[in-house]
Amino acid sequence: MPPEHAERAPAPAGRAPGTWWGRLHGAGPVIGLVLLCLAGTALNGDFATLDNALNVLTRTAFIGIIAVGMCFVIISGGIDLSVGSMAALIAGCMILVMNGAAQAIASPVAVVAVGMAVALALGAAFGLAHGLLITKGRIEPFIVTLGTLGIFRAYLTYFAGGGAITLDNALADLYSPVYYGSLLGVPIPVWIFALVALAGGFILNRTAYGRYVQAIGSNEQVARYAAVDVDRVKILTYMLLGLCVGIATLLYVPRLGSASPTTGLLWELEAIAAVIVGGTALKGGAGSITGTLVGAVLLSVISNILNLTSIISVYLNAAVQGFVIIVVAFLQRGRR
């Protein structure tokens, strides 16, 4: 990952960035993660095994990939509440298309490829729609994506007739290595997650587009005067997020093989939380992909540890997660 300029968040007044103090605060989420891992190991020796670590990383992949896209949107000063519903609708459409194509196309590999293409195309198209409504329609991103949150899920429910859309068995078997397979001992989803994060980091910090995203989030007016094509950059940002949702769905479908009205519920909160816990400010302007990554892993480690132990009432799981999120955010509070 290239060194992240975007990470240089406004330092606390009167403190120059790059001092040990600034660096320590920048490391907030990492410290949180390390502490949490120590706690996990103390609570259950099996926490620190390679298998468990890979399990956690694999399941972080969905949210993590979406969070990378969300990071761009938030840095640009936007928000997308619809990602969970969008993932569900994409999963549903993808399965319907694959089941349909299986009749027409002989090669099952081709069918899966068609399904994947559909997922990515839909993601980009939904992102484009968001971007257009927000820039050309001049509607608050919160409203646009709150609206599509309902719309996407309703259409999935409609297509599924209230039930679930399920992938044909033969296809499911063919497709499943995409989630369950490994390469050099590392599960495929972890590879993809890593690639997406790396690409995200590069785009954010090493391309003109990434710079524009930060500039727009920092002050849209100034960016416009500086000849940045604000609308185009914003639209691309939502499309990028849509693509990430599409990629995440590619991994989701082979895992659970179906889509239903509850698929992806509250993923938006998780993805946004990963970004913000990772040290990006909700108001935009600056943020980091590494932080987002750490944030996403941190959130799944919390629930992993809760699964591995039974020290507190099952009813209170959500409370523990809440406390940990607040504490981690507190550790890096100076960065605001």
Binding site: A11, G18, F202, R211, Y225, A286
Partner: protein, 495 residues
């Protein structure tokens, strides 16, 4: 009732950067003191300490002989010390009246006394000469009007010591005159005034004495009458300054027209503007505040709805729809509103500098090393003073921010460049550098448009000047016709 203030060995450091190195001097009560110094000399910082916005790192502050330490601006204001900021401090979503009384609302019981506040606002607005209703939202004001609101805000506080940090940087002669009358009235009423400005003619006219600072240190304190402008400038920069303006080289007779505008109208602001600027020409725009110069060019850049019979930029015959298109055609624009439109104050210097020209810093991937090199070059070329190349733009002094903004719009090597108040808040030394730079830009065959409220600047620099009045170009004057009476005459419509 006048206040006497004494600084004793005041020091101030921002992190590792030492900004004030033990400044000591006195402000005599009831006088108008000019505070001079190069960009980054520490004038604003010292005044913020006086007015309670910053805490000194060391030294002491005496007010009427008593040692004081103001933890907040409220405490300073309780003593009658009021600062008009160099950078605006207005909440854009609130109205003028709401801003003027923010934190000092008049109440009757629980309720705000809106009527009384609006009355009082109307009074101070009249005093500074701003014709706007107290209920106007600040967002809707232009830069100069915001400056007047800042001044009105200070008036509403009944100051015993008033610090004005470059109040006229964005004002045109009319408003400036009114401000001077105001200063005289306040002085007669016993108010002590500190006047920070880089416009030495103003300092000469209205101050009783001047204090000069350099590099965070006190340099001199003299009665104004004992100094010439030239001497003031030399004290500020610490060396002998020669001619302010470069010799003019007329554009070649066959130089192509790089900017041609026919009948451009920005509804509500400007009507039927036509002009041409040739390669190598410096073309000025004069006018009173509100004449519509800024808006004319914002329209040309696609930032405001507008129409035109014809626009041609460096050979491209089309009206740009956005600054992006304009830049692609070879035209860039420096905004007069540094903080709101010019710079990303929260971003580092390099990222500000290269934003308009990222293509030059890497094909597919950006090259941070190249950006840093460009920053070092710009810092040297424009004389940007900063302790740390990695700092954010907000950590630069006002004048140094201006230099950075100027460097930024020149990055894409535009064929046509429009500079709106290019020397706003810049010290004499740097001003001279900028004039020479503009001259060089022209000599390289670019077309340069300079919008300025400083008449001497237009007179000393331009080949031709268009004067705007109420949204129309009232006259276009050739170099030999340029003098203050002529310009003011056309601007006010008395000629």
């Amino acid at each position: 009732m006048s206040l006497a203030v004494e600084f004793r060995e005041i020091t101030k450091a921002f992190g590792p950067v030492q900004v004030l190195h033990g400044v000591s001097f006195e402000l005599a009560p009831g006088r108008v003191v000019g505070l001079l110094g190069e960009n980054g000399a520490g004038k604003s910082t010292l005044m913020k300490i006086l007015a309670g916005y910053e805490q000194p790192s060391g030294g002491s502050l005496l007010v009427d002989g008593q040692p004081r330490r103001f933890a907040s601006s409220r405490e300073a204001q309780a003593q009658g010390i009021v600062l008009i900021h160099q950078e605006f401090n207005l909440a854009e979503d609130l109205t003028i009246a709401q801003n003027i009384f923010l934190g000092h609302e008049k109440k009757c019981g629980w309720r705000l006394d809106e009527a009384a506040m609006e009355r009082e606002t109307a009074r101070v607005l009249a005093e500074v000469g701003l014709r706007a209703s107290p209920g106007t939202r600040v967002r809707q004001l232009i830069v100069a009007e915001k400056q007047l609101v800042e001044i009105a805000k200070a008036l509403a506080r009944n100051a015993r010591l008033l610090v004005m940090d470059e109040p006229t940087a964005t004002l045109t002669p009319g408003e400036t005159e009114r401000l001077f009358a105001l200063v005289a009235r306040l002085k007669a009423g016993g108010t002590t005034i500190v006047y920070i400005s880089h416009k030495l003619d103003e300092v000469e006219r209205i101050t009783d004495e001047v204090v000069v600072m350099r590099d965070g240190r006190f340099v001199a304190r003299q009665p104004t009458a004992a100094l010439t402008r030239h001497q003031m400038a030399n004290l500020m920069v610490g060396r002998e300054l020669s001619d302010l303006f470069p010799p003019r080289q007329p554009p070649l007779p066959d130089a192509p027209v790089l900017l041609r505008v026919r009948d451009l109208s920005v509804p509500g602001w400007a009507q039927g503007a036509s002009f041409e600027v040739r390669a190598g020409e410096i073309f000025g725009f004069a006018g009173l505040v509100g004449a519509g110069r800024t808006e004319l060019f914002e329209g040309l850049l696609g930032l405001r709805p507008c129409r035109a019979a014809g626009v041609e930029i460096a050979g491209h015959a089309s009206l740009p729809k956005s600054p992006r298109e304009a830049a692609d055609q070879g035209l860039t624009y420096l905004s007069e509103d540094r903080k709101g439109k010019g710079l990303h104050v929260q971003l580092p210097l390099a990222e500000n500098l290269t934003l308009m020209n990222l293509r030059a810093y890497g094909g597919r991937w950006l090259q941070p090393a190249a950006e840093q090199a460009a920053l070092r070059q710009a810092v040297a070329a424009f004389g940007i003073r900063t302790g740390d190349l990695g700092c954010r733009a907000s950590q630069l002094s006002g004048g140094n921010q201006q230099k950075l903004a100027l460097a930024k719009v020149l990055q894409p090597q535009p064929r046509v460049v429009v500079l709106d108040e290019p020397t706003r808040g810049v010290d004499v030394g740097a001003k001279r550098d900028i004039y020479f730079l503009i001259q060089r830009l022209a000599a390289q065959g670019r077309a340069v448009v300079v919008i300025s409220s400083e008449l001497p600047e237009l007179i000393g620099l331009c080949h031709r000047v268009a004067v705007m009045r109420a949204g129309r170009i009232a006259a276009t004057l050739a170099q030999e016709q340029l003098n203050e009476e002529e310009l003011i005459g056309h601007a006010t419509g008395t000629r």
